[in-house]
Symmetry: D2
């Protein structure tokens, strides 16, 4: 995999799971060179001493954000927490195009951001014009984007399932119910009791029922396809596995529509997509195992027992298509590279 | 725990998980003596050689069904698969009262059984009069019952959440959506690839979407409270943990009803129940970890983001309240014992 | 399980895993009443809000250590970290007999404690006279003990396997190698990255190779049986499971001894023990699954491929026989109760 | 990853875990084209229907062994069970060079094979001349090899740790103790109760204590370095994780040798190896997490508490360096390709 280093990349916030995954993916990308990895609390430490799995992948040390040299950086990936990310991005020089993996620029409306994240947005204009980077639906805008906001993991899986059917008019905007399940890595590397092995293993529970911040993000994007505001029901669950995310979506068919027309809308949308696979009707339900370690999304459509309803299920790896992989996919489009570059050789680790 | 052996108990089909759990619970019950444990393929083997965890719990060997002596058995627990169970129960002498953990006598309508389980029911009359043993709602009938059909694990958790609110008229019978999640022991001890550690660990998927046999069972029972037929949406998922089951139920409020009235209906119903706990509004969501190893059901009610909707979540241990524990609870009632006997000292194993 | 409250018990340090398990076991003990549970950082919170699994088990709130009333306490269980435990115990009134689950009083030699734990021991006399509470070998001393030091989890499993064979002279004190494996709960509830689900699941590693603090503890006790100092090899490993501990011990047979004589020494020692089971020669190796949730230790002996060697394997639940269960077993003996009280109904949760 | 198809590859026995992993790796190899995948029981099924994770990786269907066309196959990988593999390989045409992942050709002595595997070897001559494919030690012989026997997973990890120190004379051949731990995938995809999720999760046990077939394989190879026969102690354990293998090896230092000289022997041996990494003295112990999904082996050396002893620990992914990855590495050498081809982009999936 001879490297023809064309693009200099920086990773902000390298000490978390999305940061580590970003570095791993960048290190394998033939056209990217990592020139900086920031992590304030770990500054001065070699990356492999913090993440031994990156030994032989990236041979460098972490620096404080303020000590990083961004003057020659083409693309900065911010894996910082929301709020912090916004502040850091504001300081970057103009030569840096930015992919933000945090929630800071996902809302076009700064007031909505403030109400959902409990923090005033410092740059209402930037958030209004930032590109919402669900790659499959954002390619044209990505080409010239200076600032791309990567979707949250739950919105990524959900919107891939729902945008095509919303746009096709085959389901109602009423009573969309999203029952979501995520592996523990979705909760990040934060030291919380709930993330301890002994508390997460052999157990299952929902959290943030009715209040999770990804719901308004999903609604913002769906509204553009339904051409109307809507409210979705959204319940996330924590599942005792590391990677993987599954969304089970219950929806009402529009008059005259069927499971077949829903399936057709999805199949048509994604028929040429490298990373989204719509399974044939009647096939097995998606399993997160079958996309683990990849940038893929598996989608399937099922007939409900109740008349006039449909079930759509989507599966992704929350750390790849749900964050760092999609960030890289976006960067590929931003710089005119083959969109699959650095992502195409990822195959699921099974078993 | 001095034993005053009053009741002789037999376990049919002792080699599976529900059979093993039945034996473990019976062995600790102060008023029950295990007099027979049948398992055709393992006949002649000491129980502890098949289930080393039962060493010191039950000191006996397994026999073939036809070799068991039922003449002095007061209560037989059938842990056989459906179909097989029906046949075995038909042969038992009249001195045996029966708790059937299989699906064979759950449907009052033999035709419904035939259509759901693909096998003609051999005893339409018995299934019509068998008691559906969701203990909290069946006590009066249980006292004189000769044949009790234990509910399935999913129906147990679901009906505990829904029967009180259906009866109280606070939710609509339309669009009830049950997104269910179970640990792998719910699939039994059968040797199937999907049950292998390497296929179930680190993965998550739904199964039997729209077609699972527990849906008509749920509908049968709900219909009696709604006083009308209905169709529910039901999607089970396989979660990489051994024990535990969670149902996340989405329902529409009846006109004028609120989350508070739903909560009140549940609290009122279960306020004196030893095994069902309705959490205060605003409390944490139920976690299967908190009921694991017990006969309990934890229930909580949540406000939905969408107007006019409510979310009810229930958690049980599928092998105890979802099968063998409830079977024993039923037997206690059948024989006039304290309903909690042999079950009250079970506390959750945490972590 | 009617309670005839005879003994008042206090738990110091109730917020960790051993504290929670201590409370769970005490709450089920027919002759013990919990009168205080201390946890400085959680003072004022109801126990069930911190440990929802204890709902219905213990109905009280936590207090600060200095706010607890010990005047009527018969037995105090200290689940505090080492160092802290020593300080707290020093302040207890003389009416409290004490079982210390920390390492503070395990060494008879205060200087050895200081060198191993890097902290001067404040009470050399007390540590010299404290009883090392490996119950099966300490009964006589326990009866009048004021201060009992519970063994570490690794020493418990190891010494049960080795003390009888050391005493019988059937193995050499040279080249004893203990390869130990523990579930993650052995590392406590501390918020460390290594204890996170995402870092512990699907991985395996050793730690503290050659330097773990349980090695000198094992040596202290073995020395009394060999009547000579010795050095053992001890390597612990962290296994992706919550509870359970396995020690695989490699030893050299004394001249003329065989696997059979080793097995005989163990069988003879433990033939009447309620909690230690020596498996027949040729039986399956112990599995932590078969003792999980109990106060038991399973032991088996195997012929090595190499001449003159033997392999002894022991399995316990690290949170019960390895800590809180043994603490209660000790307390039973201290107060002249049946040693199995409150522990006899624990059966393994399988699967 | 443009393919310049030079070599035609066949996989025999594609339905197991090593077969599936072989196909996954081959499909990503730039110079290999899969022309046949055999699986008698699944003949006619598309590979992706059996292994959905291979969707998009290999687009073909499985055939019966006798229906496969081997006339244009350059390299056949046999993932069949031992015994079966031997028979199948005997039928292959001479144009096929063979890498056998089974145990059939690992022993140079057919009688030893017969005694260990309980089956007469049909081709004593072939097993005498087959190359034992521990790649790092077999390169010269591999170039012209017609038949390569891939080492077992345990021998791979063990021999990488021990061959260099045996050859350097820094450890004794006496009392080498190998305490090995493997994830469940090491047991294959066979339908056995012990491989069920509910039996393997949350448990730990040893198996085949003193009798495992990998011990004589380890001895055969070590004997060549010690230039003397020897007997090793070898105890495997089953760990509740899918992939990963750790060997903890206890050895006696030769007179005058130290941990440092042991470390030096390993470092010198592997200093230029792409897949073997010897960690600096004092570094953290190897974790299977850090090699998962790769062809790497991590090795570390530790001082024992006991004088004159040393501990060497090695970690691999049992399905890659322990089987299919090493098979591909061998094939690369056999055909004069860059040894890392198709394997170099595998980085550990963490978390």
């Amino acid at each position: 995999m001879g490297k023809t280093a064309q693009l200099n990349a920086a990773v902000l916030g390298a000490s978390g799971y999305t940061g580590a995954e970003m570095l791993r993916l960048l290190a394998m990308h033939p056209d990217m060179t990592i020139t900086a990895a920031t992590a304030n609390s770990l500054a001065g430490r070699r990356l492999e001493s913090v993440f031994p799995h990156l030994n032989g992948v990236f041979d460098g040390e972490m620096v404080r954000l303020e000590d990083a040299n961004f003057s020659n950086v083409d693309i900065a990936f911010s894996c910082l927490p929301h709020g912090t990310s916004q502040d850091a991005i504001a300081e970057l020089p103009s030569n840096c195009r930015v992919v933000d993996l945090s929630a800071d620029y996902r809302f076009r409306d700064a007031d909505l951001y403030a109400s959902v994240y409990g923090r005033e947005h410092l740059n209402a204009e930037a958030t209004r014009s930032a590109i919402y980077g669900l790659t499959e639906f954002a390619r044209l805008s990505l080409k010239d984007a200076e600032l791309v906001a990567c979707p949250g993991c739950y919105p990524t899986a959900t919107l891939l399932c729902l945008l095509p059917v919303a746009a096709a008019g085959v389901i109602s905007k009423q009573n969309i119910i999203i029952d979501a399940k995520s592996g523990v890595s979705g909760a990040g590397r934060g030291l919380k009791e709930g993330n301890l092995f002994c508390e997460a293993a052999e157990g299952l529970h929902s959290y943030a029922v009715g209040t999770h911040r990804h719901a308004p993000e999903i609604e913002q994007e769906l509204a553009t396809r339904f051409d109307a505001d809507l409210t979705v029901t959204f319940t996330p669950h924590l599942v005792p596995m590391t990677r993987g995310e599954l969304v089970t979506i219950y929806a009402e068919l529009s008059a005259g529509e069927t499971v077949e027309t829903v399936h057709a809308a999805l199949s048509e949308q994604f028929k040429d997509e490298p990373f989204v696979r719509v399974r044939p009707l009647g096939d097995l339900p998606p399993d997160t195992r079958h996309v683990r370690g990849t940038n893929r999304c598996d989608i399937a459509v099922f007939k409900d027992r109740a008349e006039g309803r449909v079930i759509i299920i989507g599966a992704i790896d929350n750390l790849i298509k749900g964050s760092s992989g999609q960030a890289l996919q976006n960067a590929n489009v931003m710089f005119g590279l083959d969109e699959t570059k650095g992502l195409d050789f990822l195959t699921p680790l099974f078993p």
